[in-house]
Amino acid sequence: MALKIENISKTFDATPVLRDISLFTEDGEFLALLGPSGSGKTTLLRIIAGLEQPDAGAVRFRDKDLLAKPVRERRIGLVFQHYALFRHMTAAQNIAFGMNAKPRKLRPSRREIRDKVAELLSLVQLDGLGGRYPSQLSGGQRQRVALARALAIEPDLLLLDEPFGALDAKVRRELRRWLRDLHERTGLTTIFVTHDQEEALELADRVALLREGALEQMGTPEEVYHEPASAFVFDFLGDSVSFPCEIKGGVAVIAGAGVPIIGPHPNDGAATAYTRPNGFDVSPGDGPGLAARVRSVLLAGPDARVDCVLDGGGAIEMRLPLDVARKLAPRDRVTVTPRTVRVW
């Protein structure tokens, strides 16, 4: 186990930000801290880096107490959400900063520093741009300078705070793939904070989901996606549709239709059923299931988006195969049944 976080709690002005969080990373692992804004993920990252002190709990790295060390002795590379590059220094000077800051005895020679800077610039694919100031670089390039600067101190652990947060969608996707490659090459234990579930699921070896300062679930992307521990996780990891149901004899009864339940089965009684927008069958006319009227059919896309107004109130937004959707028209009466549901 590389990093071990034990029962961390933190309160800002009487508002609890982190509640008794425990988690760990394996050596060389790529871990995502995923959660909506205000879930405490950035605070947790800053506690690991040493920029915040927790009220309670412990942080250990390879069995050494990390909290006892000041920030500058932790050897943790941190890439800030807005990069925090030194604006009056060139990219190369930014990258060299950590090496120059070492005590004289440990400081590499000027030549070594220059070589290392060139090597890192090349690693982050910014060869020849070392003389540029941050204001002369694009967002994606600044991001990579910040990463190279963090890597220059040869950290034991790399922390990334919303690494793609300030970039546009196309650059995000490119950098995401590139970052994954880089991680595979360096093998550095990495924790990154994100509120983008797609990013977390695509990049991370494991995902830790945070909600209101507490750990909601932790597992591989596959586990958290297919075995969500709570309605929150299910809802956060993808679009979801929910409606009231009645649990009876191991199935969810929704408007007269019995629907199989996946995941944990709750006790009989009233509950809320959840499914994804693509988990519905739609048949024309009336039958067991949710009676509805089609509001709109949108066919532009790999699948169709069909909006229905439920007779019982509320609306459902579904994703249906194009051939099914082509048979539907606005104001058609239909019956909607989820194929399977999760119930919490």
């Binding site: 880096a49 040493g50 920029l51 920030v71 500058r72 002795e73 932790r74 050897r75 943790i76 590379g77 941190l78 800030f80 807005h82 925090a84 590059l85 030194f86 604006r87 009056h88 900063f97 950590g98 800051a101 070492k102 100031y133 941050p134 204001s135 600067r149 963090a150 220059a152 101190i153």
Partner: protein, 288 residues
């Protein structure tokens, strides 16, 4: 900012001033001409009205030179003190959280809102012969009021906010992330200050120092209360101007005044040059 049409509309509005803008410009320039430029010109005209020879005599007189020396001495002490204070206060206020921060910010502004005359009186009440600490100071053989030290202290207090006020908004806007980044990269607080914080605020700092200098040179109210106004000993340039003027020595008064105005103009020009530089820096930071 990303909306190009909005950007265009705005720059269009800026290009096309319209009649109202012309009225405002004329009013502003007219007011400035009457209230600022004309009087300033008058100072130089009056100073040179009796000929260059008399002017040069007036400013090379021993009392005049001593006033210049005293003013420079006050500047050389008050400005560095307030530079250090401004840096410390701005650093404390913007990089750390502590209770009473708002109170400190308000207190920093206080010398700007109270009349300098009152500042001077406060010092008389504290350190004057009959003031709170007067007897103790006299017992120790220290004289502050009516002495050069009183002038320095009064000027320092009156010019205290200038550096701090330039730095605080800039440092607040810049945030703490660069300092944090430096810490994670292993830099000591000392190194971080010299290599990260100071270069980021250098223009604002210089600008504040210049403002502080200009203000320290021209300080009259507080200094006139605490100074003995002895020509050649405790008369700064503004005091010298007043003394000469009251003695009906217009040429002398205006000669010193013109020197003082010249100093101020030099400071103003330096400030403008810096401001341009500073604006470029700020724009770069905003792009950053």
């Amino acid at each position: 900012m990303s909306d190009p049409s909005r950007l265009e509309r705005r720059s269009h509005a800026a290009r096309d001033p319209g009649p109202m803008a012309a009225v405002f410009v004329v009013l502003t320039v007219g007011f400035m001409a009457v209230a600022l430029i004309l009087p300033l010109l008058a100072v130089f005209v009056e100073a040179l009205s009796k000929g260059v020879g008399l002017y040069l005599n007036a400013i090379s007189e021993s009392d005049a030179l001593s006033a210049v020396r005293l003013t420079l001495l006050v500047v050389v002490i008050a400005v560095p003190l307030n530079t250090v204070f401004g840096l410390t206060a701005a650093w404390a206020v913007t990089k750390f959280e502590f209770s009473g921060k708002q109170l400190l910010l308000t207190l920093i502004d206080l010398p700007l809102s109270i009349s300098p005359v009152i500042s001077g009186l406060m010092f008389v009440l504290l350190y004057g012969a009959h003031g709170w600490f007067g007897p103790e100071l006299r017992a120790m053989g220290i004289q502050i009021i009516f002495d050069v030290s009183g002038i320095v202290i009064a000027t320092t207090l009156v010019t205290l906010p200038f550096v701090a006020r330039e730095l605080i908004p800039l440092m607040q806007a810049q945030g703490k992330d660069e300092e944090y980044a430096a810490a994670t990269l292993g830099a000591s607080t000392w190194r971080t200050f010299w290599q990260v914080t100071l270069p980021n605020i250098r223009w604002a700092l210089l600008y504040g120092v210049l403002l502080c200098t200009a203000r320290a040179m021209g300080e009259f109210g507080a200094v006139s209360v605490v100074s003995a106004r002895v020509r050649g000993e405790t008369a700064t340039m503004p005091l010298e101007v007043e003394i000469l003027y009251n003695e009906y020595n217009a040429t002398g008064a205006f000669a010193i005044a013109s020197l003082l105005a010249l100093f101020a103009l030099v400071a103003l020009i330096a400030k403008t040059v810096l401001e341009n530089q500073f604006a470029g820096d700020l724009a770069a930071q905003r792009r950053h």
